[in-house]
Symmetry: C2
Subunit: 157 residues, 2 copies
């Protein structure tokens, strides 16, 4: 297959991914409390899954966003009492971000709010299908990440 037909196929893949991402984002946001957006929730979710006590910069790297963006996202969560920041005893320049009980509970409530929906999904988009899909996407993600590093450096990265 020549590049002529091949490139558009990859484009279609990323196009499809982009649309799914947008639909999923909108769906998620329709269930978040007013003023909280998908990226804020993603940060919250990350702290639960990975572990809280991360530094803002570690988190910025994990999401591949500039550190200024992370500063602002954390600030929103902190204003709402979903996380708190404490000085990092190991580095005077740095901070650590901790979940509050409120933060944990909100994340839990949102995640389980989707239980019903995904239960109904199982017929059309079987769990086994999703389970098979995820590793393939992981491969693509890792490869993209490598391409990224080869291609350019994100400032602040």
């Amino acid at each position: 297959m020549g590049a002529d037909e091949q490139t558009p196929l990859y484009f279609r893949l990323f196009g499809e991914i982009g649309i799914i991402n947008q639909l999923a984002t909108t769906l998620l946001e329709s269930r978040l409390p007013k003023g909280l957006l998908a990226p804020h929730f993603t940060v919250l979710n990350h702290l639960v899954r990975v572990k809280d006590g991360r530094t803002p910069l570690e988190m910025a790297r994990a999401f591949q966003v500039p550190k200024t963006t992370m500063t602002h996202q954390i600030a929103v969560l902190e204003r709402r009492g979903l996380v708190v920041q404490s000085p990092n005893p190991e580095d005077g320049r740095s901070k650590r971000v901790w979940l509050t009980p409120d933060g944990r509970h909100l994340r839990e409530r949102i995640v389980h709010g989707f239980d019903d929906m995904f239960q109904n999904w199982s017929d059309v988009v079987p769990v086994e299908d999703v389970a098979a899909l995820v590793p393939r996407l992981e491969r693509i993600r890792k490869h993209l990440d490598a391409a990224r590093s080869a291609d350019f450096q994100k400032p602040d990265g």
Copy 2:
């Protein structure tokens, strides 16, 4: 499989998709002329693939974005001479958006700029894999779209 294990799996799917989307976006933008962002290019690409002469509202629906967002995105492309808008003879309220030769050329240049990269990818993420992936993602997208309609209405939609 109970909802307890199932929901996180779907979350992981969308998480993976979100990260890929972000990496792909950043990669694309690193190759766009300064001041042009991924959404602008996506609009340009859409006009080439689907057909130009669409109305802004049709385009907004295609991308599932509010019409105000589309107004702004088209304005950016028009300022750069990549598209022009003309009144819609069939509806005095409406407009039609046309590609300029510059718009077409830019799109072509960017798309083929990825030929080399995807050629190299073929070993690690085979075209056949991608071809198998796309229809599955399409199914998910359509189902998400249905869930969206059932769940809420996008304002302005």
